[in-house]
């Protein structure tokens, strides 16, 4: 037995501490305005971060085989939670989505944990069933994913739903499912989009509006324009830590989905390169851990976790820089938000535990 992947751990610690700093820098104006306390978000996130480090420590000690053993129960609990959160009185609405279990001022999003649950379940499933035919092997798992996606879309939380579906498809991809399946899936997806557009043509405008946000600067283009107004003036070296102007109420809730804009504004292209390097390091270490496993369950689990993090990161960054329409996905380790951070830390804990069993 070997030691945990220190590079991964260090990268995560640096990135999360940096995130804490940027959450303070981007949120202090809003916090002062809303709560009369510029440290409001900083304090809250700091508590979660300490909790997160403890979780990393604990989870990295737990042998990953335990998830194999309890995968069905975990998934079952996840489905129950997803149903419970939809019931008014139990689940609470924040930002237009009934996605939360409110505990005081803290909120827990079950859909974040469902992501982890279905990755564990799928890993076990792929480990146990050699892919023989699409019908008998892939379809059952797809049906479960569609069920979960449907439940998440009832909240609705489109971003998390897409991450979940794409992560499972990526896992099916590496498990050796025939390429023609993915091609068919792609065609099916395109057809779905076409049908949706034909039913309601305004959707096409929604989809394309991100290409020219200035067409509707106060509506659909508002967030992306405000994001570009932050990134652009940042230039090569940024305006200096704490000197963002866009955080002064121009960019709404700058500490959440669009925190990367404020990082770009204050630290410039140089800061962007550093953040990107940290993310790529974490993702690459995660995928390396997957490559180094003899055990297929561990291999799939490590891949699923790493891919999910990577996909969420890319989804967030592409929105922020205006490459894709706004989806409402947070940036792992950097965005403000307790449950998002805790799930990320659990994921890293699992990865670190698996890394102990590296073959090389």
């Amino acid at each position: 037995m070997k030691k945990i992947d220190k590079h991964l751990l260090i990268a995560v610690i640096i990135l999360s501490l940096f995130g804490l700093l940027m959450i303070y820098s981007s949120s202090n104006i809003w916090a002062e305005y809303k709560f009369n306390d510029p440290y409001k978000y900083l304090k809250s996130q700091a508590i979660f971060l300490i909790l997160g480090y403890i979780i990393i420590y604990i989870v990295s000690k737990i042998n990953y085989q335990i998830y194999y053993k309890y995968s069905n129960i975990i998934l079952f609990i996840c489905i129950i939670l997803l149903i419970l959160v939809l019931i008014p009185g139990i689940g609470s609405v924040r930002n237009g989505s009934r996605s939360w279990f409110g505990i005081g001022s803290f909120g827990i999003q079950p859909s974040e944990f469902v992501k982890l649950g279905i990755i564990i379940f799928t890993s076990k499933y792929l480990n146990n069933n050699k892919i023989k035919s699409i019908k008998s092997s892939v379809l059952p798992i797809l049906l479960i994913v569609i069920l979960l996606f449907g439940l998440i879309m009832l909240q609705p939380d489109f971003g998390t739903g897409v991450i979940l579906v794409m992560t499972i498809i990526a896992m099916l991809f590496i498990s050796g499912v025939n390429m023609s399946f993915f091609i068919k899936l792609g065609i099916l997806g395109l057809l779905g989009i076409v049908v949706l557009v034909i039913i309601a043509p305004y959707r096409l405008e929604r989809i394309t509006s991100f290409l020219n946000p200035w067409a509707d600067p106060l509506g659909s283009g508002f967030q992306i324009i405000q994001s570009l107004y932050a990134i652009g003036p940042g230039g090569l070296l940024g305006m200096g830590l704490g000197n963002s102007i866009q955080k002064h109420f121009y960019l709404p809730e700058p500490q959440t989905d669009f925190i990367f804009s404020i990082i770009s504004e204050e630290l410039g292209f140089a800061g962007v390169l550093i953040v990107a390097t940290l993310f790529v390091t974490i993702i690459k270490r995660g995928l390396n851990i997957s490559l180094n496993q003899e055990n297929n369950f561990a291999k799939y689990l490590a891949f699923g976790i790493s891919f999910s993090l990577a996909f969420q990161t890319i989804l967030n960054l592409m929105v922020v820089v205006g490459l894709i329409p706004v989806t409402g996905v947070t940036l792992p380790f950097l965005s403000y938000g307790g449950s998002s951070l805790l799930v990320s830390m659990v994921s890293i804990g699992i990865l670190l535990n698996i890394s102990k069993y590296n073959s090389k």
Binding site: I29, A170, F173, I174, S175, G176, L228, Y229, A230, I231, G232, P233, G234, G235, L236, N243, I245, Q246, H248, F249, Y250, S264, G268, F269, V272, L273, A276, F279, V280, I283, K284, L287, S290, L291, K299, F303, F307, A310, I314, L317, M318, V321, G322, L323
Partner: protein, 635 residues
């Protein structure tokens, strides 16, 4: 084997992920580096708030340094609602100081605009009130400088100056024509604001406003005042429809005064019709010039040597028949037999018809064109007309005859004074102008300067001299006697023109004019006066317009310190039988020869010697026969 395929696909996924990151970084690079300028500017526009500080318009200043268009510096109250912490206090205090209802101030203070001008309650405040507001030291309450156009002399020179509107934009006259020079560049207090309108600490830039350029005119304030006063008097006295006048320096085309009545008050321009504001009759109105135009026929005849003024005679029977049409002289029964100089003095129409016939239409019209009639003079004022001449091909004997004494054509006052200036200044036609230079007020740098502009040389210096002398006799002995000034040599010509409406002469409705200049031997100013339809007076230019011109010339003499001439023609009351002679130039000649040539005059010799040193009055002066002249002798 199986693991190998998984690993391959994991690596494919890694590759795709890395490509995605590269794309994202590439996009950030594009935004931050390639699109930097555009986005930076846009963002800067979003963040920055401007509190505008008005610039002063350039002043308009006369030749003798009187500012006729100035600015009042005022301050206006501006509030930035989001920066005001304690709105109730601010509302209470401002309402008290401005002495208005609290609800009015409350409206402004609670508006959701980023910068609110407290209009009208807080516009153009006195310094006393501004000081009180300033002492409150409230955040979000600003006092910003605002210039307001001010015309200290009200209606004086109003058509030329024009007026500027409420936002200091030039709307007519020089205010409009030179708006780009007169308009300054607003300054601002620039600061970055958050999305709620609060001032961010970082930055507050003060951009000083740049005042507009000053315009210096050729106009002389005192002469202009004199003209305005005289025209106002005549409008009152005779209830005239309109009256206008121009004073020009004949030696360079500078306009010393120009006025048209009725005029307007630029400060209260809203109270006047657009016609009153835009119609500067001195350049806009065209009309039959009448007898003042005879100066042109006279100059052309002398230049072409078709007449000997002193020796050729013309017999006026009271009318002349041209091509079957009878043209009457203004004096019923006619002037009898006269020399052509007397024809000029008497302003005898049949006499001028004969001058026109001697010239022929080609020559007469060549001079009319060369003196600038039929096209705009190009004076630097808006609203000039070109006038109307007969087309040369349509000119028959009747048209030639009427044109010779100033009927059947249409000219403007500015054309007449410009042309007459050329006939008496030695023969050079200048382009008239009112703007002398445009000056940057802080550095004194001259941005633009107008210099005298020669259009063409029309007649010779000798011809011009003869015209001057002939016109001097008109004032001393002829129809222009009402403009005679004791001690000064004044030349001039009257004009009485019947107005035309729809091609028919209106009965009892005349434009009376006089054009005069002094000193006649070396003209420094030309004065033109025209009165449209005065009532209750004999309608002759000599009786109405000449006395006004005389009053103006008296003021000019004071202002320009024109010295008395050592010799002047004596005013003659009964001039019909007078015979005239020109003083020959005998300076430098021997006494015996001079005596022969001066035989028509009574000569007082002084000094000793055999050579003529000087003659007073100067050679070429036209005098009645046997007048006394002085001759200084030397060796």
């Amino acid at each position: 084997m199986f693991n190998k395929q998984i690993h391959k696909r994991i690596k494919v996924v890694l590759l795709i992920i890395i490509i995605c990151f590269i794309v994202i970084i590439g996009k950030v690079f594009y935004i931050q580096v390639i699109d930097y300028k555009k986005l930076s500017n846009l963002a800067s526009n979003l963040w920055s708030r401007n509190l505008v500080i008005g610039a002063n318009r350039g002043r308009i200043i006369t030749k003798d340094n009187v500012t006729v268009a100035d600015n009042l510096t005022t301050v206006s109250l501006v509030v930035v609602p989001n920066q005001i912490k304690n709105k109730d206090d601010v509302i209470k205090d401002l309402a008290k100081i401005l002495n208005v209802d609290e609800s009015k101030i409350s409206e402004h203070v609670n508006k959701s605009s980023s910068i609110e001008i407290v209009h009208p309650e807080g516009r153009q405040l006195s310094f006393d009130i501004a000081d009180q507001i300033n002492n409150l030291n409230y955040e979000g309450v600003y006092l910003l400088k605002e210039g307001k156009r001010y015309y200290p002399y009200d209606t004086l020179l109003s058509h030329t100056i024009g007026y500027a509107g409420i936002d200091n934009q030039g709307l007519s006259g020089l205010e409009l024509k030179y708006d780009e020079y007169l308009t300054g560049k607003s300054g601002a207090i620039k600061y970055f604001s958050d999305a709620k309108g609060n001032k961010l600490d970082k930055s507050s830039v003060y951009e000083e406003p740049t005042n507009g350029m000053d315009i210096y005119l050729t106009i002389d304030y005192d002469i202009q005042s004199s003209v305005e006063r005289e025209l106002n008097n005549i409008m009152d006295k005779y209830d005239a429809d309109d009256a206008w006048s121009i004073v020009m320096d004949p030696n360079n085309g500078e306009i010393l005064a120009i006025s048209s009545k009725p005029d307007f008050s630029p400060t209260n321009y809203q109270n006047y019709s657009i016609e009153t504001i835009n119609r500067n009759h001195a350049i806009w109105a065209t009309y039959e010039p009448g007898s003042t135009f005879k100066i042109i026929t006279l100059a052309a005849s002398i230049e072409e040597k078709t007449v000997d003024l002193l020796n050729d005679t013309f017999t006026d029977s009271g009318s002349i028949t041209v091509d079957g049409a009878r043209i009457k002289c203004w004096k019923s029964g006619g002037h009898g037999t006269q020399t052509y100089l007397q024809v000029v003095q008497n302003s005898c129409n049949p006499g001028f018809v004969s001058l026109g016939n001697k010239l022929g239409k080609e020559k007469l019209f060549k001079y009319i064109n060369d003196f600038g009639f039929g096209k705009k003079t190009g004076i630097d004022l808006n609203g000039e007309s070109s006038g109307i001449l007969f087309k040369i091909n349509n000119v028959g004997p009747v048209e030639l005859a009427t044109t010779s004494f100033g009927q059947g054509i249409s000219v403007s006052a500015i054309q007449q004074i410009t042309a007459v200036s050329a006939t008496i200044n030695g023969g050079t036609l200048y382009k008239p102008y009112v703007v002398k230079r445009i000056v940057e007020p802080n550095t004194g740098e001259i941005i633009k300067e107008n210099k005298p502009q020669i259009v063409r040389k029309v007649i010779s210096n000798e011809t011009s001299q003869t015209v001057r002398m002939a016109l001097e006799t008109v004032v001393a002995y002829g129809t222009g006697r009402n403009a005679y000034i004791e001690g000064y040599r004044v030349g001039g010509k009257t004009g009485t023109a019947q107005k035309v409406n729809n091609g028919i002469y209106m009965s009892g409705n005349y434009i009376l004019s006089f054009i005069g200049f002094l000193p006649a031997d070396n003209p420094q100013v030309v004065v033109y006066v025209a009165i449209d339809n005065p009532k209750g007076i004999t309608q002759y230019g000599g009786t109405v317009a000449a006395p006004i011109a005389k009053n103006i010339m008296l003021d000019i003499i004071d202002k320009l310190k024109i010295e008395k001439s050592d010799y002047t023609l004596e005013k003659v009351y009964n001039w019909y039988d007078t015979k005239y002679e020109t003083i020959p130039n005998v300076i430098g000649q021997e006494l015996s020869e001079a005596k022969k040539q001066l035989k028509n005059f009574t000569v007082n010799y002084s000094g000793s010697g055999n050579i003529i040193k000087s003659i007073s009055p100067s050679p070429n002066t036209i005098l009645p026969v046997n007048s006394t002249i002085k001759v200084l002798l030397g060796d």
